[in-house]
């Protein structure tokens, strides 16, 4: 912290402490609140608490039994080999029994919570989703201007739209928080009159998930056409399993939505930079920029995929793209799933320059899926990256020559 930081800290502390009326207001408010009759709700919540406690106690007992059983094996090992063999056999059976009971208990917990394996559903309030496998997802459908504003308070990156624009647009926004790191939204599918959001678990097993208990916020913009009245949320063990589960990969979904300028019409998916900073949602300006770019003027675009798993939209704001004087026009967008951590791919006007960005905290090496490479969707392979500023997201700039060599 430098001097200015220290002073600012001190000033802000004083500023936010400086209130004389707060106590009176709080006391008055508490006195005036019409108090509720909680009788009916009490029973339900207390019961849930009791169930929670009973489950916790049972799990503790089972764990203790497991540990003690294991201890018994070790003790037997020290004293007598013969006895140890018998004890081991017996205890192994005990552990198996205990584990069976644990499994049974877990299933009961799921049933008690009203959850179905691997599927979470929106609650009646439309703002909460539960998952099994130790993962909770809180999600809110943003289909009204009020909800959009509420969420903009916490998520300033949501598109700025008026009530009319939201009503007329062909999008629905989902804002959510997953209480786990390493879970990634993979796909949106319309199936049997339901919209299914597919999340993959990139961490693997449930032990790792439990240890990495972190919030992971996301928002997703989805064309209304793709949304049925019912929403479901599915959780799949790994990205490789998508096809096994009969899901259509994201990349095969309605990419025409983007290409046939629907996205441009709706404005929600395009960002561009001007000298005044990042701008959103203005078709005219975007067209103007495309023209400028074609005329060789310095412009920078970012075409955000319609399915955005993170706040990568901030990248341009935080990088000196203009200083770098990149000349780019977006002509295509691809989506790469899984380990590649690719968020956008941009082509230069000559079709050879590529701009890619990813978010700090993910893998430091970027590579493009060989499949995509071979299909010709992407012309060049990127393998290097550098960090502009530790404070900000890492960015990757690359220009490709004919021989495939990159210059940063």
């Amino acid at each position: 912290m430098d001097n200015f930081d220290m002073l600012l800290k001190e000033d802000l502390k004083k500023y936010y402490q400086n209130t004389t009326l707060l106590n009176d207001v709080v006391v008055n408010t508490l006195q005036k609140i019409p108090r509720k009759d909680y009788k009916s709700q009490n029973i339900k919540i207390i019961n849930l608490n009791i169930i929670d406690r009973v489950i916790k106690i049972l799990v503790s007992i089972i764990m203790s039994v497991t540990v003690l059983s294991y201890g018994a094996i070790k003790t037997a090992e020290i004293y007598e080999k013969y006895q140890q063999n018998h004890a081991k056999a017996d205890t192994t059976q005990n552990i198996k029994n205990v584990l069976n009971r644990v499994n049974l208990l877990s299933r009961n917990i799921d049933i008690a919570n009203g959850e179905i394996d691997n599927v979470g559903k929106l609650s009646e309030e439309n703002d909460m989703v539960t998952f099994v496998n130790g993962v909770w997802i809180y999600c809110r459908v943003i289909d009204s201007i009020e909800k959009l504003r509420e969420n903009q308070g916490l998520w300033s990156n949501l598109p700025q739209m008026t009530e009319e624009e939201l009503k007329e647009s062909n999008i629905i926004i989902f804002r959510g928080i997953i209480n786990i790191d390493g879970v990634q939204i993979e796909d949106i599918i319309k199936k049997d009159n339901k919209t299914i959001f597919v999340f993959s678990d990139r961490l693997g097993d449930s032990t790792q998930r439990e240890s990495g208990n972190r919030n992971y916020a996301f928002y997703v913009i989805v064309p209304k056409d793709l949304c049925a009245e019912k929403f479901e949320f599915e959780f799949i063990p790994g990205t490789d399993s998508i096809e096994k589960y009969g899901f259509t990969p994201m990349s095969q979904l309605d990419l025409n939505y983007i290409k046939n300028n629907k996205a441009l019409d709706e404005n929600c998916l395009v960002e561009y930079c001007t000298d005044e900073g990042i701008q959103y949602n203005n078709v005219d300006s975007i067209e103007e920029f495309i023209k400028k770019s074609e005329n060789g003027e310095d412009t920078a675009f970012r075409y955000v995929q319609y399915f955005d798993a993170d706040d990568s939209k901030l990248l341009i704001t935080d990088n000196p793209l203009f200083e770098e004087k990149f000349k780019m026009v977006v002509i295509d967008v691809i989506y790469l799933k899984g380990k590649y951590n690719f968020y956008e791919t941009h082509y230069g006007t000559d079709g050879k320059a590529v701009f890619c960005s990813y978010i700090k905290g993910y893998d430091t090496i970027i590579s493009i899926s060989q499949d995509v490479f071979e299909k010709g969707t992407v012309s060049y392979l990127l393998t290097r990256s550098y960090e502009i500023d530790d404070m900000y997201e890492k960015l990757f700039f690359a220009k490709c020559k004919d021989d495939g060599v990159f210059n940063n």
Partner: protein, 181 residues
């Protein structure tokens, strides 16, 4: 106050224990106030927002499912209350700020040095977006780390850092301008 104690109050309040709710509010009232003030700046509106937030929390605490998310839940309620107040008064926060600035410049001369400092800080804060002000408050006044702010607000750690950095630069610039003038 130990976290366990706060959790105890939250749990009791969730099942309708009014006394626990009152005690909980007594503990967190300053947190509510600071979030509201960081967004509204104006003292009167801030106190209104505190009032609305407490009522809303009372109405909804029985729906809170995860006690560990209490602070996130509270932050959202306060932000909503602030937005409602700004909306009800049919003027946006920028207008408030203009008023504050006008009022400030008229009255500056009559106040002593420390008050002038406060007014200058308030004016500097009014130049910053309300979301960024809240982040500044969490970071500097409350001493939260960027990681903790991410947990609280859902805004990514790196984004929090860059927003705080930019807000700080704006304040710095504003102070420099003041010195020149």
């Amino acid at each position: 106050m130990a976290k366990r104690q706060i959790k105890k109050y939250i749990n009791k309040a969730r099942i309708g224990n009014d006394e626990a709710f009152d005690q909980l509010i007594d503990i967190i009232k300053m947190d509510i106030y600071k979030i509201a003030k960081s967004r509204l700046l104006n003292e009167e509106d801030t106190l209104d927002a505190v009032q609305e937030s407490i009522i809303s929390m009372y109405e909804n605490i029985c729906k809170l499912r995860n006690v560990n998310k209490f602070y996130n839940w509270m932050t959202i309620i306060v932000i909503n209350a602030c937005n409602d107040i700004a909306k009800k008064r049919s003027k946006n926060i920028e207008e408030f700020n203009e008023e504050i600035i006008d009022k400030d410049s008229k009255e500056k001369k009559e106040f002593n040095d420390s008050l002038i400092n406060k007014l200058i800080l308030e004016e500097a804060l009014s130049k910053i977006d309300k979301d960024d002000r809240m982040l500044l408050m969490f970071y500097y006044s409350e001493g939260y780390s960027a990681k903790e702010i991410e947990k609280l607000t859902g805004i990514k750690e790196n984004t929090v850092r860059s927003k705080i950095m930019r807000a700080k630069e704006k304040i710095k610039e504003f102070y420099k301008e003041q010195e020149v003038n």
